[in-house]
């Protein structure tokens, strides 16, 4: 696909690298206690997020999940506010109020990474409805997992998008598991894509480890959406390397050799090989990797140097106007 490596190809690789490095760092400092709460990593799924988001325009919308680090980076978010968020700092993208499950950067069109499984799907349908009513041609893309397709919210959001022919793209990142539950034990169809039939919605199944393939599939869906053809379900077959969340003290599910099998098709390794094959110099890619490593280091430094929010900030952003602070916190 990438016969002539262009800026776009390199950008895909860069974004995948950013996600990988960002999370490697996050996992390490989480283990060291520097990040509180749970950390759900995206490692293994980078091609899915980047391939999908690269098919979008900057002003298109995107909604994600609890596994929230990859999506905004794929959509183009800067790393500093994301890392600061993980550390609970006031310079964080959510001012320290959201944390690891909510790394949503509205400035790049990311309208929420929500930690309630399935809950982003109606929201994405609504953003698409907004575009339709405003008569603009922005589309809304929603990521969710295989497990999420069992939720009522999935059904209702898909149905609404279909019946109203909304400019929406539903990307199911089928990584085979919901926490410890294999998709085969929770989803009665072999391919999630089958579920689109309930809405007379077109569906595409794609290799989620191949960033170009994902881009192509989502591009087709985006074009349909942008030109009034309604929504599409795209299923990316992918895999997460880590347990449901990292550093949990014990492994929830031992998937044995399966993980190693999938690692053989690591999206970054695959794409690096493709770029090399297409004539990109190894030095270019190595330099890029170093740049990304530096970016991540810089983001961490920024996060560490940043202040924590003040107690009063807890009362801001409930409503547009700040709430009064209770006596016991001011006394």
């Amino acid at each position: 696909m990438t016969d002539r490596p262009n800026d776009r190809s390199l950008e895909k690789y860069r974004r995948m690298l950013r996600i990988r490095h960002f999370e490697d760092k996050a996992e390490a400092i989480h283990a060291a206690g520097e990040i509180p709460g749970a950390l759900h990593t995206y490692a293994g799924q980078e091609a899915s997020g980047v391939g999908a988001c690269i098919a979008l325009r900057n002003d298109d919308y995107m909604v994600g999940t609890h596994r929230s680090h990859g999506h905004p980076i794929a959509k183009g978010a800067k790393l500093r506010p994301l890392m600061a968020e993980l550390l609970g700092k006031v310079t964080g993208i959510c001012k320290g109020k959201g944390g690891s499950m909510h790394l949503s950067d509205f400035s790049v069109g990311s309208l929420g990474e929500t930690s309630i499984v399935g809950s982003g799907i109606p929201v994405a349908a609504g953003a698409a409805l907004g575009s339709k009513l405003q008569g603009n041609d922005r589309v809304a893309l929603c990521f969710f997992g295989d497990g999420a397709t069992n939720e009522g919210a999935f059904h209702e959001g898909m149905n609404l998008a279909a019946v109203w022919k909304l400019p929406a793209i539903f990307v199911c990142e089928n990584n085979g598991y919901a926490v410890s539950t294999p998709a085969s034990a929770a989803v009665p169809v072999k391919d999630i894509a089958e579920r689109a039939k309930a809405y007379a919605m077109p569906a595409i199944i794609v290799d989620g480890q191949d960033v170009d393939a994902v881009e192509a599939a989502v591009t087709e869906a985006v074009e349909r959406a942008r030109t009034g053809g309604g929504p599409t379900l795209v299923e990316t077959k992918t895999y997460r390397y880590a347990d449901h969340a990292v550093n949990m003290g014990r492994i929830l599910l031992d998937r044995g050799a399966e993980v190693d099998e999938w690692r053989k098709r690591d999206p970054l390794t695959l794409y690096r090989a493709r770029l090399l094959e297409a004539g990109v110099a190894a030095a270019t890619l190595d330099a890029m990797e170093q740049e990304v490593a530096d970016e991540v280091a810089d983001a961490l430094q920024f996060a560490r140097d940043s202040a924590y929010p003040e107690q009063a900030d807890a009362f801001d952003d409930v409503f547009v106007d700040r709430l009064p602070i209770p006596d016991y916190l001011t006394a």
Binding site: F106, I116, A125, Q134, A153, E156, G157, D317
Partner: protein, 330 residues
């Protein structure tokens, strides 16, 4: 100034705001056929893009309202009957109430969810819920419970222009009551401002939604007995006009809270707790609650009606409080 009913006030508020602001649109089940009369003529005026019938999927379309609001629209959702909010609870509680916060203020969700408190008419337990207090327990949702047409119009217009999500609970027992309506197209009553519906000196009766007209009737009965009732209508429960309630209770020294909802963990309970916490020194007697009995609402009219607050129950509570309890007149 022309008279309009509570339902007509809803229609007018929506119509005026939709005319004024193209970002406002309305959706819900069967609103084109317009079951209760709050969208009469809307399709003709605004077209089917802005007046949308939805599939029966409350979580889906209420969530879609959230998404649309995040990208600059100002949706009004007609969720028909309050019991139908339960299927949408996930979007209301986890998305609508919390999105602005968890994203650190990046999101605004200017939307209104309208729903009716449909009780007292033999619709049985699954259709008779009055669940506003459960939304009060979660931050992030403004809640209005107007008791007359005037307040409804002014507050609903304010709600539609508000940049935060608002739940509008419409008491079906008030549907046909009428008020004079101001002509001002910018007539608005801000959320968070209560109203003294009647001044008095002996007892503050803080009443919610359809309980306000009952309190006013009780006040008339009691006036004849020389008991002077101040009727306080908070009008919105979030924000709650605590200052107005406390000022009234400090003046009268006695309080009754009246609420058509089930008593336990009701708005009435919250207001009682507020009073005893912050105006204890002024209290001359207990704070009594007149709310719906903590049982389900049965279909049979023979046994449904007496479960709700009534004028008699308010009168009895007031008499008890001033120490003049007498047999309740029939």
């Amino acid at each position: 100034m022309t008279k309009a009913t509570y339902l007509e006030a809803i229609r007018q508020a929506q119509h005026e705001e939709m005319s004024r602001d193209p970002r406002v649109f309305i959706m819900g089940e069967d609103i084109i056929c317009n079951v209760f009369g709050t969208t009469t003529g809307f399709v003709e005026a605004f077209g089917t893009e802005r007046v949308r019938d939805t599939p029966i999927s409350e979580n889906g379309f209420i969530g879609a309202a959230a998404g649309a609001s995040m990208v600059g629209m100002r949706p009004i959702v007609d969720a028909t009957i309050a019991s139908f909010l339960y299927p949408a609870m996930d979007q209301i509680m986890s998305i609508i109430a919390k999105s602005r916060y968890i994203y650190g203020g990046q999101a605004r969700l200017p939307l209104v969810i309208r729903t009716c408190l449909f009780y007292g008419n033999s619709n049985a337990a699954q259709h008779s819920d009055r669940p506003y207090s459960m939304f009060m327990n979660v931050p992030g949702l403004k809640i209005m419970v107007p008791s007359n047409a005037y307040d409804m119009k002014g507050m609903l217009k304010a709600a539609i222009r508000d940049d935060d999500p608002v739940l509008c609970f419409e008491d079906s027992t008030c549907w046909t009551s009428k008020s004079d309506m101001p002509d001002d197209p910018d007539f608005m009553i801000p959320l968070g401002k209560g109203d003294i519906k009647r001044e008095g000196t002996d007892i503050s009766v803080i009443a919610v939604a359809g309980a306000v007209p009952l309190a006013l009737k009780a006040a008339e009965v009691l006036a004849k007995e020389g008991i002077s009732i101040e009727v306080v209508d908070p009008r919105s429960l979030v924000p709650l006009d605590k200052a107005l309630i406390l000022k009234s209770v400090r003046k009268t020294g006695r309080a009754i809270t009246v609420d058509p909802a089930h008593q336990t963990c009701s708005a009435a309970s919250e207001i009682s707790a507020l009073i005893v916490e912050q105006a204890f020194d002024a209290l001359r007697g207990p704070v009594l609650r007149v709310a719906t009995a903590d049982t389900h609402l049965p279909f049979s009219p023979a046994i449904e009606k007496a479960l709700y607050p009534t004028v008699d129950r308010i009168v009895t509570a007031a008499r008890t409080l001033v120490g003049t309890a007498r047999p309740v007149s029939a």
